[in-house]
Amino acid sequence: MSWDDHSHQLEPVDAGYNSRILQMLPSSRARWLCCAFLLLSQLAFGADWRRPAAQLAEKISALTGPGVIALEITNRSSIASADVEQIRHLVVSELAASGVRVWQPDQAAATAEVTLSENLQSYVWVAQIQQGSAAEPSLAMVSFDRPAFSVGGQNSPLMVLRATTLMSQTEPILDAVVLDGSPRRALLLSGTGVSIFDFQDGRWVLAQTLPIVHGAPFPRDLRGRILLGKDHLFDVYLPGLACRSSEAGSLTLACSPSDDPWPLVTADFGLSGFYTPARNFFTGVLAPGIGKQKSGPPFYSAAPILKGNYILWVLSGTDSQVHLLDGINQQTASKLRWGSNLAGIRAACRSDWLVLATSQEEPEDSVQAFEFPDREPLAASQRLALNGPVQALWSQQNGESVTAVYANSETGNYEALQLTLACGQ
């Protein structure tokens, strides 16, 4: 929390107070999360209310002088109630240090009504002080920056579908890949470049940024993939653009206009799809195709289900339907209410692949694993709730994890998660 000394002692104003203004209330879950985030972030930031409390107490004591006052504190900000009590204690003790004792109203020479308020950028604490028979209260006000909150990913000890937070940033994240090694590295793809992080001392440290240069504007709902290469570090697929990292020496990234199809799962699967350069979906044209099927409906994402001697492909269509392609037939699973993002995933204890699917709920979202014993999906994991809509869901090289990116509706940050399926829980 940064601090600027914005405290000012103000002249008296007309008496009278507005009734408490009820802002639009978020859902109970959102409120709970908000409170939890606030609490956690306050802990993380040290929750140091001492300085503003001291400033406010100083202003109050300057107006009242030494003596006995009554103190009321009203919270109309996002400050957690536990913190309000802490703030009260701080103000009382700071007042005491200035010779002002807080006591019952009927024995007090003055009453200080402190309101903890806020605006878009700052906390605003106002003390309205009524002394004796004065018609108008005196006013003291301090303001100081509100912290920018940051939260981790969703994780539950009971979950079979596990989420590990990789990164959080304000710029949209398109994809992320983790490279095991020493140190562990992570590649983060955004619309402006690839950021390379090293895992040091328990946190990701930015080591290098490789800018992506492009001529034509990117589509509004920008999507992209980053896939590890065999003879070079990685390839990047973006609408109308392909980038390849250097093979040796210092790491560079070369991008050029390209209509090449994108690998649908990983390069090992050998199936790619052509992506519309100015939109946000795959055209449906496949390379080389699924059996006899060289094309399907336009789709947003695809996941494979291994079926012995063939692969059943599950496509999330632009028509909001889920389509199944087995190399000969195309079916529509009209009852499914899945979102646009699907990805294939494997669990270590199973030989087959499962489908991770998002929901169609708004504004929150969830991810759940499904298996396909036949053509009807069966839930294979619990629903992993995310505090915001999923932006990307891409299988990683070995299929043992999926990168999920969601827009955290509380913080506005984009969160990249590594999702894995754990067995036997």
């Binding site: 203004i21 700052s122 646009s340």
Partner: protein, 451 residues
């Protein structure tokens, strides 16, 4: 009720987290149909602002700067900026590769010309990829002002072109506007193919059109929000933002006149107006800025005191009725004006209602100009044609001091901060109303309905 134009800065032009994509990826294509009360007669940014149709400006034009959800400046057509000489001279670096809808490349000269036309008081110099804005006085919140719709960057004369996500397809002044998606928009082509807007439609007309499936987005007056929700419509509202106020034509010329205004302010039962006439469509206020923007709005009183009102009235020695003007085209303005008249009469103040001609006081709606409090207050004073306040800083206490001085000038009596509201059709996605009431359509899309 006269709608004060100037401001409506929809501004903020926020691109914030609230516009995050939904669980279903956006679909490209389709035409979004909207209805509006306003009747803009011209499409240049200043005319749109004056017609209270700034939301349209953001569809056709871009500004150099946008404000994020905390009111902080972010790059748009500008990619960077630097303040020099104590915030009196700003060097702004421009984005490359942006074109106007008429095909002209945006460069420093066109940007400078556009800013000069909108701000005759500024000295704007064009460099290679930069413009330099010099102001007569230090201007620490210039970036927020550059985010106002009236500072949209335009090229051309009577029918200027912009760099925005949509370009003009068809235009019948005051009646209808067709916009087409700009394929090469520098921030990415909009999801919608086109937008059709019908103007000059009252609330009932809009509601009927919505019920018949002829429009996808319709406005709802604050007094109808509660009913629309009860009817199960998909209603989106802003935070309380548009100021309903009594605005005096001039500063008080005598102590008696000042007492008369005090008496009028103390006589008003504002909560009753909000709860009964406006059906809770706003929040009573004694402040100019809404509390969510200032953080201190609650300290300004608004509660009626008939005893004090009568005392002030006795000091006023009113000799002639005070003319109160209201906008006859606003369906609730007459009812509110009558309420005010009755409240005032109880305190001994004589008002006379009028819908035309000069009046001593006007019942006005003043849209919130910006997500930046300083800019909002400054634009408010421009609207009222009173001296622009000098800010000593940007902290809440400093802005409070300025607002308090404005209120003490007795040029206006704040009544209620109104919510802006719209109702959305079942397949409309990512249409956002920001806290300041501005409508954001740049990310809107239409969902394909499942068979």
């Amino acid at each position: 009720m006269k709608r004060f134009s100037l401001l409506w800065l929809a501004g903020s032009s926020l691109l914030w987290a609230g516009v995050a994509l939904a669980a279903i990826r956006p679909h490209y294509g389709g035409t979004l149909r909207l209805t509006m009360r306003q009747t803009p007669q011209a499409l240049d940014p200043i005319s749109l602002v004056q017609a209270d149709a700034s939301n349209l400006a953001r569809l056709i034009y871009d500004t150099l700067i946008v404000l994020d959800h905390r009111g902080q400046p972010e790059p748009s057509l500008a990619v960077g900026w630097q303040a020099e000489s104590g915030n009196q001279r700003w060097r702004i670096s421009l984005r490359n590769g942006v074109s106007f809808s008429d095909g002209t490349k945006m460069d420093a000269n066109t940007v400078a010309a556009s800013l000069r036309a909108a701000n005759p008081d500024w000295r704007v110099l064009a460099g290679t990829d930069t413009v330099i804005v010099q102001t007569a006085e230090p201007h620490p919140y210039l970036l927020a002002e550059l985010a106002l719709p009236r500072n949209s960057i335009v090229h051309g004369g009577l029918q200027p072109s912009g760099t925005g996500p949509f370009s003009l397809a068809q235009w019948t002044p005051g009646k209808h506007l067709s916009l087409s998606a700009t394929e090469q928009y520098w921030k990415g082509r909009p999801f919608l193919d086109s937008i059709e807007l019908d103007f000059g439609m009252g609330d009932r007309e809009q509601s009927a059109s919505f019920d018949l499936g002829r429009t996808d987005v319709a406005e709802i007056a604050p007094e109808n929000i509660r009913r629309a929700r009860a009817e199960g419509r998909a209603v989106v509202t802003s935070s309380p933002s548009e100021l309903l106020a009594l605005v005096f034509s001039a500063a008080p010329q005598s102590d008696e006149e000042a007492h008369l205004r005090n008496a009028l302010a103390l006589s008003l039962d504002i909560p009753a107006i909000n709860n009964v006439v406006l059906q809770g469509g706003g929040e009573p206020t004694g402040a100019l800025l809404p509390n969510w923007l200032s953080g201190y709005g609650f300290v300004f009183p608004f509660q009626a005191s008939s005893e004090r009102a009568r005392q002030e009235c006795a000091l006023a020695k009113q000799r002639a009725p005070l003319l109160l003007a209201y906008d006859a085209s606003d369906p609730v303005a007459h009812t509110i004006a009558e309420r005010i008249l009755l409240n005032a009469r109880d305190a001994g103040v004589t008002l006379q209602l009028t819908t035309h001609g000069p009046a001593g006081v006007t019942l006005a709606r003043i849209p919130l100009a910006s997500m930046d409090p300083q800019t909002s207050l400054t634009e408010l004073t421009r609207t009222l044609k009173i001296p622009t306040p000098a800010f000593t800083g940007n902290s809440a206490p400093e802005i409070y001091s300025t607002e308090r001085e404005l209120l003490r000038s007795r040029r206006m009596i704040p009544l209620i901060h109104l919510r802006t509201a719209i109702m959305l059709g079942p397949n409309v996605r990512q249409v956002a109303l920001f806290p300041d009431g501005s409508l954001y359509l740049n990310d809107a899309w239409l969902e394909v309905q499942k068979p």
